[in-house]
Symmetry: C2
Subunit: 272 residues, 2 copies
């Protein structure tokens, strides 16, 4: 899915919501049973309940790896179940030396048919480039993450006074165009979105941190939206664990709908 097609979806669905599919076996509704099959049923029902409200799904690989080999079957089946009308993001935060990153890229893009993969930047250009060799696929590079630990290194001023995340965003745009590269920018730093948007005017940002982590959607939209929207706002726990009884899917839909309604307003207000 290219940038134009993604923007088209956003306009059609009046939504820039990404639903994070991070199923913790310990938190699934009891009536679904246990084990990988229960996780798959959970994902199917979450997807069915939210399809028309979002433009992307983002399974975090940690939750699938934790189930052992069958977890990878569930991840594969879930991505297949989502189909082609959503951007499918493998939240894997991979990154290694060139020949190894190439193996990861093949896994996520060719075997699992994900559209995008999150990549950790610490190892630099040759750890990122192999993910860029796949047409119409996306790298989503960690820039300013939503967690407390973002304070440790990402904000550190470099010799020229710029923080590390700014250097990184500038540098990475020499490697790839906004048609193949997005950045992770956490909603827990809403005051930074004006600056982040200046650093990468045309890029899409994947924005975690709304909901359980306390980020501010309106502020993100006000400062972060560009003429292609340029935002994919993710919510994981706030949606998938909105309920934990037999009506969990309806509760998830309600929670997703609340965010989508805020997005209708944001798009009407801030899309140029």
């Amino acid at each position: 899915m290219n940038r134009k097609a993604l923007f088209q979806l956003i306009k059609e669905r009046k939504s820039f919501l990404c639903v994070g599919l991070d199923p913790d076996p310990a938190r699934l509704p009891k009536h679904l049973g246990e084990g990988p099959a229960a996780v798959y049923r959970f994902n199917q029902q979450i997807v069915d309940a939210t399809r028309d409200l979002c433009v992307a799904y983002k399974p975090n690989t940690a939750f699938y790896e934790a189930m052992g080999p069958q977890g990878w079957e569930v991840l594969h089946a879930t991505l297949e179940y989502i189909g082609d009308d959503h951007l499918k993001i493998a939240d894997a935060k991979r990154g290694d030396i060139g020949n190894t990153s190439k193996m990861y890229a093949r896994t996520f893009f060719e075997t699992l048919h994900a559209d995008a993969v999150t990549v950790a930047p610490y190892m630099g250009e040759d750890s990122v480039k192999p993910f860029l060799d796949f047409p119409e696929k996306w790298v989503i590079l960690l820039a300013l993450t939503s967690n407390m630990g973002s304070q440790d290194f990402q904000f550190t001023p470099q010799e020229d006074g710029q923080p590390l995340y700014a250097k990184l965003m500038t540098k990475a745009q020499e490697w790839a165009s906004p048609d193949e590269l997005m950045f992770v920018c956490g909603a827990t730093h809403p005051e930074k979105f004006r600056e982040l948007r200046q650093l990468a005017p045309d890029s899409f940002f994947l924005v975690p941190g709304i909901g359980a982590q306390g980020g501010d959607l309106a502020a993100v939209a006000r400062h972060g939206m560009n003429d292609h929207c340029g935002l994919l706002v993710n919510s994981s726990r706030g949606i998938i664990y909105a309920g934990n009884g037999e009506d969990f899917a309806a509760a998830a839909r309600k929670s997703a709908q609340e965010l989508q309604q805020q997005m209708v307003t944001a798009l009407a207000t801030y899309l140029p």
Copy 2:
């Protein structure tokens, strides 16, 4: 395996060699056949041929993930096959927000029974800490990696003039002791090992970049060894692809032996 036990192994085997088990299906000897079973046979024979020459094995998860769900079975079986007389390092370069890093930590330490996992530092303290909650398990944090891309961000001077890797190594030692934290320091920067050792006098360094990547073992040992040896020097491709015929295991042994012989000399010369 704790630091004392690791040092004991190093003295017994006169080796600080780590063998990287990164099996690329396209490069396996033809007579082994194809698919995950062939990879497992390959790993078994490499392990059998090198057991007495090394103190650690390091499978890189990328090569197992690329095989799909069965790849995780092979990784699990390989770690089990190695047994308890070597440090088992899952080279995964993971790192995510706290609740997600916790899932990864459980996978590698509890499900796969690895002794150590490599962790990417960009997301800071709360992305690393969950890996530290497991007694006698190790975090091996990326500090100065062996690839070209290490130039992009790791060497960047911070406001105080120190490069990022130095800030990171200093900071990370506030989170964990040398009994639970190692650093990845690439052998492709041998001139840096004096400084790296000053930054973390008591820590073990996992040192990739010997062999295929061109690093210099003698220089690393001269500048990097401490009173617990403090070095695990890894070779992957240089050992496992030393031959590609029916005698591949013998060729791997020969290649491992050459490195181990250099280590006998290095230990006799530089161990205080």
